[in-house]
Amino acid sequence: MGYCPNTPDEIREMLAVIGVGSVEELFSAIPDKLRAKSFDLPAGLSEFELMRIMKEKAAASGQEITNFIGGGLYDHIVPAVVDHLSGRAEFYTAYTPYQPECAQGTLQALYEYQSSICRLTGMEVSNASLYDGGTALAEAALMALRITGRNSIVVDASVNPFHREVVQGYLHSLSAHSEVIAPDGCEPAMDRLMAAITDETAAVIVQNPNFFGSVTDFTELAKKAHQHGALLVVGSYPVALGLIKTPGEMGADIVVGDGQSLGNPLSFGGPYFGFITTTKQYIRNIPGRIIGETVDKLGRRGYVLTLQAREQHIKRHKATSNICSNQSLCALRGLIFMSALGKEGLSELAALNYDKSEYAKSVFSGIKGVTVANRGATFNEFTLTLARPAAEVVEKLLTQGIAAGLPLAPYYEGRDKELVVTVTEKRTKAEIERLAGLLEGAL
């Protein structure tokens, strides 16, 4: 078919060297009765015919819609340089850097990634990436179980419900217990969270900003957790960390999140990357790969996979996690993104998100039948209470090319009229005002 390189002449030469008469003979170890009963796929295509099909699918993927939705994934700018550099073939066609001498590119980049994500979250150590936000949160929960030797987790229900569902599955498999604490409107119910922490608690899991967009200081909660020998696990949103107090400053023990907003396109769900950072004392409990600095015989600085004894390929079922392939290339994108924006740039980006969102809040709260449900501060998301079921409004506006927000109802019982609205730096004043007009018309 032209995809494999060997020519008929070469195949004949190779068969002669092997000493068999046909390629089919090489499969003779497989009993006839085990042979494929079907392999009913269409004939192949050229790349040009393929791309016609792919472009048709892409044309029906909602990319023209104006997004005021988040749900943990955000429509942020991706500088051109991110694509160009992460698209270097030497990065994307390399394997896991098991042979460090010929993989210093990947290794040094991931070391830089670890450094950057630590600085962003205000923590001391990081691994080289996990899969996504939800699985990172689940790994954090398991890590807390390992560290504390306890079996119970307290979870704030204002943590992203998609992430909570992933955590639930992981904990359930290990017969660990979790207690979910209902929020107080759009804010974490701090009293109830505090009260739920006992000497049996491995960790309390919160998110900042939370699913409703509210920003909270969890410093006191961290203290309370530590008093009981429990850990504070904070789910975080990297772009928000350009502005808001870091989990490190609050005293968090483990910080996780989805790195999508750091230079990874939405791509209908992935690939992104999960990140996890912690303090030095817990480094041996981190799941996944870690890159460490060292030297060669001549004293030249270099980077290697380190603490591999934690990992599945050495420790097998006693490993800290089963993770093998992670999301290196997406983490590299995250690093390039953080470096391209830099210290001031990320702060500016966060401030711009905040300003746009505050502007949207002010415009929407002027509409009859709309109130802002968050009592306190928000970052770039907030929750609106509408005069009508949010689902109806969203469905209507979607036909006008605008995704107005994420209705809370499917995830929070009884909150039919509430809608989480996301306003990133990409939303223009005009788009915000257009949404306001459509909202007004839909109520």
Partner: protein
Amino acid sequence: MKLIYELSVSGRSGVRIPVSDVPKAAPLPQSLRRAEPAALPEVAELDLVRHFTGLSRRNYSVDTNFYPLGSCTMKYNAKVMENAGSLFADSHPVLALLPGGPEKVQGPLSLIHGLEQQLAEITGMDEVTTQPLAGAHGEMTGIMVIAAYHKARGQNRRYVIVPDSSHGTNPASAAMAGYEIVTIPTAPYGDMDLDAFRAAMNDQVAAVMMTCPNTLGIFNPHIAEICEIAHQAGALVYYDGANLNAILGKVRPGDVGFDVIHVNLHKTFGTPHGGGGPGSGPVGVKSHLIPYLPTPRVVKGADGTFGVEAHPEGIGRVSDFFGNFAIMARAFAYITMLGREGLIEVSEQAVLNANYMMARLKEEYELPFDITCMHECVFSASRQLKDGVHAIDIAKYLIDRGFHPPTVYFPLNVKEAIMIEPTETESKQTMDSFIAVMLEAAEVARTRPEELHDAPVTTPVGRLDETRAARALQVCCEL
């Protein structure tokens, strides 16, 4: 090379942020703000470009040369797959969850459904979920599905059986799914000892995890029997799809008797490895396991349109949305482009190349299991060891001669293992030039073994002090 942080100059900036078109808002309360900006690098775009271009040039990759890493399937993936994967950049997955949303994203939903159907046909399974984000994640998902199945039958089985030649992820994934692990040794025929397996099997075993062909590149002739034994005891059989590249169109795990499979899209189906990821690990199951698959499920309606549903009895969500979609798009493109005959050719040529490699190298390298192999072959450096040369020394010599080394020291049940997987995308010429260097290495091992201990010398750094790395634990560039 310097670290990006060592290039940083206070006040320098890279990419410009858009100018605001809205009023400056009242500031967030001080107590909610970070004390100072994150100390990220301060570099110009050009600094970035030279830094990462320079780093990229310190990587070996499939695009620079042959990467015969056994168990990793480092094939070449046509560039058009990269183009196909990038077409959906601005498509937000949450659209699919909005009321009226699915009709706006029929393209990606149809692609997911189409890929699931392609994989079901390829593996002989009844339904596939594309949510798992990597192979190991697929394994864990598959075992969780198995656990849910047993639980629904009121059974609380405790064990998962794995052969000692399995990938480390198998026992690790089963452990994360809550099982205790029973490891079965390898018999002289090159795969799981059948007597030991029979002895270990009982009604407390939830699943047996098999890799077939296994990590020695051997297709287990007893595989159907193993499935039967397990099924008789009420256990299910899990197929680790890491080596699926060997059997496309030849064998379908579903036909053989396997209940669950995961597939590594980033190995077999046209998506590159990215220096360690992203991958994608769809899971296929037989009909009796369909109810336990994770949520969300992409379904095709009677009118031909696609929608999103939950699996009400299923294990819930294993990843945030629809899996690593852009990786799935590459895989869909790959399967669609190669088609039936193309995929069969993949396995035929992969197996031909591996056997050619084996035939050419076995004069100089010990071959513990000298039978027809599938997609990869495993040698031992035991002959070279007599001259004090280890597998790692041969590996590092190859680097100096322009090749990536094979996998060494895996599988664990072969001493000084050297595991070679050429894949179907390499030509005879490329293999011949690699073989020449391997034979040369054997010659050097015999005649000047000490030379091999210093390799590599052509790389930016020589062999690195791993002990020091693990002791110093410098994993983050200090402020």
